[in-house]
Structure formats: structure tokens, C-alpha cells
């Protein structure tokens, strides 16, 4: 068993084990609603809220949930928080709620959230689970923002609706259409993997002397 410190619980989800960019979880919303920065932020925050709420509740009630029905109970908890988030968004920011459409309801089936409950919150104390959810949620928001920024800048020539290239810029419309989502995530992953593959040889050498304890190469 690889013991983790609270600090690691918090930080690893943010970048080193980023849910979208490294673990490849939650790709559906990351592709579907990142066509503008505002939508990305709203979706990121809604998912963050659901993740925090579910982790807290799952961690608190883990003793009362029999193993056989744990997944159904997790889904029930997640679905409740999603419904709450859905109604609150509609009441507070109706325009963004309209733009996100069905994707808010689909947070229920975001594997990232269920994954954190099953892998972490259902086995750890409340504090650790919240740290883990916090880190993972921030990591998700970062990934959504990266996607949303690239796509809105290229596809519409704006950031958060403010024009940055002037009126002569001909928007690259494909980037706000679904194919643009795939292009964007493809290039982001290409870049990340390229950086990692260049870094890896050095790290391996550094870790070799202490062989046997080397964890995953970051």
C-alpha cells in the first residue's frame, strides 16, 4: 500500500494525476461544453460542487453502506447533488444554465466523480476525502479552462466574450464545433506527453540507484 500524506492527497489531482489530462476521466463534458470559457468555468464549478458534496457524504456514511449496494448508493448521492446543482444554476445563472443544457444532468455519469468515491472517499477519513476532492476538482477546472480558452480564442476570437483580435479576425469556427474539441484535447495531450517523454529518461536515471521504491514516473 502506498501511503500518502494529506499534502499529496490534495496536490496530486491538480496536475500530476489530473483527472482529465492524465487519468482520461470526465472526457465527455471536457469535449462537449468547453466551447467558451464561461461555459467551461460553470461546468467546472458545478462538477466541483458535486464532487465535494459526494465525497463528504460518502466518506461520512461509509460505515453504514453495505459493500453490496455501495455503487448504487454512491450514484444516488451523486445524482442528488447534481439535481441540487442543476436547480441552483437555473435560479442563479439562467443564461449559463441554458448554455450547458443537458450536460449538467450528465455530471451524474462522470466517471471521475464515481471513481473518486469508489477509490478514495469510501475508504478514507472525511478530511482526507475532502482534500482529495478539492485537488481533483481544481484539476478538473484547470483542464476545462485550458480547453475552453484554446477553443474560444481560436473559434471565436474572444475570451469571456471580449474580442482580442479585433474585427478582422476570421473565427476558426471548427474549434467551437465538436470536432474542435477533439483537436484541442488531442494537441494538449500530445504536448503533455511530449514533455513527459523528454523528462522521463533523466528521472529514471535519478531513481535507479534506489530501485524498488521508485513510484510511478511523473
Amino acid at each position: 500500500m502506498r501511503a500518502t500524506t494529506p499534502h499529496q492527497d490534495f496536490t496530486r489531482g491538480i496536475w500530476r494525476e489530473n483527472p482529465v489530462l492524465i487519468q482520461m476521466l470526465g472526457l465527455c463534458p471536457a469535449l462537449a461544453v468547453t466551447n467558451t470559457v464561461a461555459n467551461s468555468i460553470a461546468m467546472g464549478l458545478a462538477t466541483f460542487f458535486v464532487l465535494m458534496g459526494s465525497s463528504l457524504l460518502v466518506s461520512l456514511s461509509k460505515r453504514f453502506i453495505p459493500n453490496e449496494v455501495r455503487i448504487s448508493t454512491f450514484i444516488l448521492i451523486i445524482a442528488t447533488f447534481v439535481t441540487v446543482a442543476d436547480m441552483s444554476l437555473e435560479a442563479i445563472v439562467p443564461d449559463i444554465h441554458k448554455a450547458l443544457g443537458a450536460f449538467i444532468a450528465l455530471i451524474v455519469v462522470n466517471c471521475m466523480i464515481l471513481g473518486r468515491q469508489e477509490a478514495f472517499a469510501s475508504k478514507r477519513p472525511v478530511g482526507r476525502s475532502l482534500l482529495d476532492a478539492l485537488g481533483t476538482g481544481i484539476g478538473f477546472i484547470i483542464a476545462m479552462l485550458m480547453m475552453g480558452t484554446v477553443r474560444e480564442v481560436l473559434g471565436n476570437g474572444t475570451i469571456l466574450g471580449f474580442s482580442i483580435f479585433g474585427s478582422n479576425y476570421e473565427p476558426w469556427v471548427i474549434f467551437i464545433l465538436p470536432p474542435g474539441g477533439f483537436f484541442t484535447i488531442g494537441f494538449i495531450l500530445l504536448g503533455l506527453n511530449y514533455v513527459q517523454s523528454r523528462r522521463k529518461p533523466k528521472q529514471l536515471v535519478a531513481e535507479l540507484p534506489g530501485a524498488g521504491t521508485a513510484g510511478r514516473a511523473a
Binding site: 453495505p66 448521492i77 439535481t83 435560479a91 469508489e118 464545433l177
Partner: protein, 226 residues
């Protein structure tokens, strides 16, 4: 997500429960969780519903103002029993009735009718509201309320201001023409390149709604106005 998966950051799976859990515990766990979830959702629903409804009503009010070009006041008319009426007989639920809105100018004269209409566009139902002047049979303004048209192409029916302004004063029935083919006819709407189906849908929605409501409007205005 089975117990033994290697999700990053997980610990080795806990050994599954050693002793058999009685079925009533499984049922009661899910039952309790479901009941709690239900209570929470109902609570939030009750808490948010007034805000959501108020916002929808506000959006509609603003849209009516916009398509009737700022009337001094407006009334709601219900479509009841094949006629327009401002007062519904008791026992009828106003929210379930088709409604159109009639706007008045400062001097109390009628400036036009605002109608909400919806029909399929390119991706999904397009819902819009438009202002209609019964006397001159002219459309005086149009605003898309709800659409899921393709971002960057079809959604120009609401975002392209030069297209939206085409509807500020055009005689019905509307006819869509390709850009550059306009002859200056008073029925013409310049369609959007790359959004042919969406622009055609908007024109069709308005034409159909006028066809549907103009007999009612004529009857409401005393029959002889047209």
C-alpha cells in the same frame, strides 16, 4: 468500477465483506438514502422555483418589449374557444393556455401583437417571439427565445444582428432570399450564408404563426381593421 480496479490514487481493494449482509439492510440502506435524497431535492426545488419562474417571466417581458419596440404597456390575451380573450372564465388555468400579447402606445393606440411560436429548426425546436402589426400586416421585430442551432453557423439567427434587424418592418408573408439576390421587395428577408435551414425555419415559423393567429386577431380587432 469494480472493487479491484487500479484507479490512480486508490488503495488495494478492501476484502469484500466477510459475513453475509442481511437483505433487509441492503433495502433499508437504499430506502433511507432515497428518502433523504428525495427530501433534499424537494427542499431545493421549493427554494429555487420562484426565482426560476420570475426569471422566465422577466425574459418574456423583455422580449415582448423588444419585439414591439417598447410599447407603453401590454396586455395578455388568451386563446380560448377559438377567440382571443383578456379575461378567462373561472376555473381555467392561465398557464396552460396559448397566449399572445397586445401592446399599446402612449396614447392607448394598439401598436401590435407579440406572439411566441416554435417549430423544428436544424438541430432542435427553435422558439421565437415576434411583433406583428395587424393593420399593415407587417412584422416589426423578432427575437429567438430558445434554440440549439449549430454554434457559429445556425445560431446566427439570434446572434447576427444584421439578420435580426431584417425583421424590423417587413410585410407578411415573408420570403427568404439568398444574399445578393434581394430585389428590394417588402416581403424579402436576406438569409444567412451557412445557415440556410435555420433562417428558413425562422421565416416559416413566423409565416405559420401569422396564418394561425391573424383570423383571431382580425376578429379581436372588430373584424374590419384589415
Amino acid at each position: 468500477m469494480s472493487g479491484e480496479d487500479q484507479t490512480i490514487g486508490s488503495e488495494p481493494a478492501v476484502p469484500s465483506a466477510q459475513q453475509e449482509v442481511p437483505p433487509w439492510r441492503l433495502v433499508s440502506t437504499l430506502g433511507t438514502a432515497g428518502a433523504l435524497a428525495g427530501f433534499l431535492i424537494v427542499f431545493v426545488f421549493v427554494a429555487t422555483e420562484p426565482t426560476i419562474k420570475a426569471h422566465k417571466a422577466m425574459v418574456l417581458r423583455q422580449a415582448i418589449q423588444e419585439v414591439l419596440k417598447g410599447p407603453a404597456s401590454f396586455d395578455t390575451l388568451f386563446v380560448y374557444d377559438g377567440a382571443l380573450t383578456a379575461e378567462l372564465p373561472a376555473g381555467q388555468d392561465p398557464e396552460s393556455m396559448d397566449q399572445i400579447y397586445v401592446g399599446y402606445g402612449d396614447d392607448g393606440s394598439q401598436v401590435g401583437f407579440a406572439m411566441v411560436a416554435a417549430e423544428p429548426g436544424f438541430q432542435d425546436i427553435v422558439q421565437l417571439i415576434f411583433g406583428y402589426e395587424a393593420g399593415s400586416q407587417r412584422v416589426i421585430g423578432m427575437k429567438v427565445l430558445e434554440s440549439l442551432e449549430t454554434p457559429g453557423l445556425g445560431d446566427k439567427i439570434e446572434k447576427d444582428q444584421s439578420f435580426v434587424r431584417e425583421f424590423d418592418g417587413v410585410t407578411s408573408p415573408l420570403v427568404g432570399v439568398k444574399p445578393g439576390r434581394a430585389t428590394g421587395d417588402e416581403h424579402e428577408i436576406d438569409m444567412i450564408t451557412g445557415a440556410t435551414i435555420s433562417s428558413r425555419a425562422v421565416i416559416k415559423i413566423i409565416n405559420n404563426a401569422i396564418e394561425r393567429y391573424s383570423p383571431l386577431i382580425a376578429a379581436h380587432n372588430g373584424g374590419g381593421v384589415q
